[in-house]
C-alpha cells in the first residue's frame, strides 16, 4: 500500500518569492506521482506528473517538481510566485503498474501575500 505525506499544512510567502512544497511517499515498487492544485471552492486541477525519465518535470504556470528515489520525495517548486498561486496543493501517488487507487496527501495551503 502506498502512502503520501505532505509535512507542511500551511506555507506563506510573498509575491515574487520562490517556494517549495514538500511531498514524501512510501511504496515498494514503481510509482506514478502527480501534483494537483485546488483553488477555493473548486475541484482539483492537474499540474504535472512523473513516472520515469528526467526526474525534473515541468508543469503549467511555471511549476516544476523533482523526483528523488533516494529521498522518496517529489517536491513541487516555483521560482517566483504570484498572488493567484494561493491555493491548496495536493501530492498524489499510485502504483506504476496500474490500478485505480490513487492516494492523495492531506494538502498544503499556500498563501501568497502581495
Amino acid at each position: 500500500t502506498q502512502t503520501v505525506s505532505q509535512s507542511d499544512a500551511h506555507v506563506t510567502v510573498f509575491e515574487g518569492d520562490s517556494v517549495e512544497l514538500r511531498c514524501n511517499y512510501s511504496y515498494g515498487g514503481s510509482i506514478y506521482l502527480s501534483w494537483y492544485i485546488q483553488h477555493h471552492g473548486r475541484g482539483l486541477q492537474f499540474l504535472l506528473k512523473y513516472y520515469s525519465g528526467n526526474p525534473v518535470v515541468q508543469g503549467v504556470n511555471g511549476f516544476e517538481a523533482e523526483f528523488s528515489k533516494s529521498d522518496s520525495s517529489f517536491h513541487l517548486r516555483k521560482a517566483s510566485v504570484h498572488w493567484s498561486d494561493s491555493a491548496v496543493y495536493f501530492c498524489a501517488v499510485s502504483p506504476g503498474t496500474g490500478g485505480y487507487k490513487v492516494v492523495f496527501g492531506s494538502g498544503t495551503r499556500l498563501l501568497v501575500s502581495p
Binding site: 475541484g43 490500478g99 490513487v102 492523495f104
Partner: protein
C-alpha cells in the same frame, strides 16, 4: 473542451436522510470516481467505476451506494446522513488506468443538520 458537472453544488440534509449526489462528464472517459474531502485531510476514495455498469468499493464505501448506469454519469448516495456531518464530495473522471490524469468536478458541499 470537456466538463464535469456535479449537482447540487450545496446540499443540506437531515439526520437519517438518504441523499443523492450526481456527476456528469462529457470527456467520454471510461473511469469515474467519488472522493470525500474533509477539512484538513486528503481525499478519500469512496467508490469508483472502471466502465459503464461497473462499481468498485474504495476505502470509505461504508454508508454509501453508487450507480453507473451510463458512461457519462456516476451517482453517489449517502444511505443515512449522519448528524453534524460536513464534507465536500468530489467527482473525477479519467481514461483507464492509475497513470492517468484525473479531471475533477467542483464538488458538492454537504451539511447535515
Amino acid at each position: 473542451g470537456g466538463i464535469i458537472t456535479q449537482t447540487p453544488k450545496f446540499l443540506i440534509g437531515q439526520e437519517g436522510q438518504k441523499l443523492t449526489l450526481k456527476c456528469q462528464q462529457n470527456f467520454n472517459h471510461d473511469t469515474m470516481y467519488w472522493y470525500r474531502q474533509d477539512s484538513g485531510k486528503g481525499l478519500r476514495l469512496i467508490y469508483y467505476s472502471i466502465t459503464e455498469n461497473d462499481l468498485q468499493k474504495g476505502d470509505l464505501s461504508e454508508g454509501y451506494d453508487a450507480s453507473r448506469e451510463k458512461k457519462s454519469s456516476f451517482s453517489l448516495t449517502v444511505t443515512s446522513a449522519q448528524k453534524n456531518e460536513m464534507a465536500v464530495f468530489l467527482c473525477a473522471s479519467s481514461i483507464p488506468g492509475g497513470k492517468s490524469d484525473y479531471t475533477f468536478g467542483s464538488g458538492t458541499r454537504l451539511l447535515v443538520i
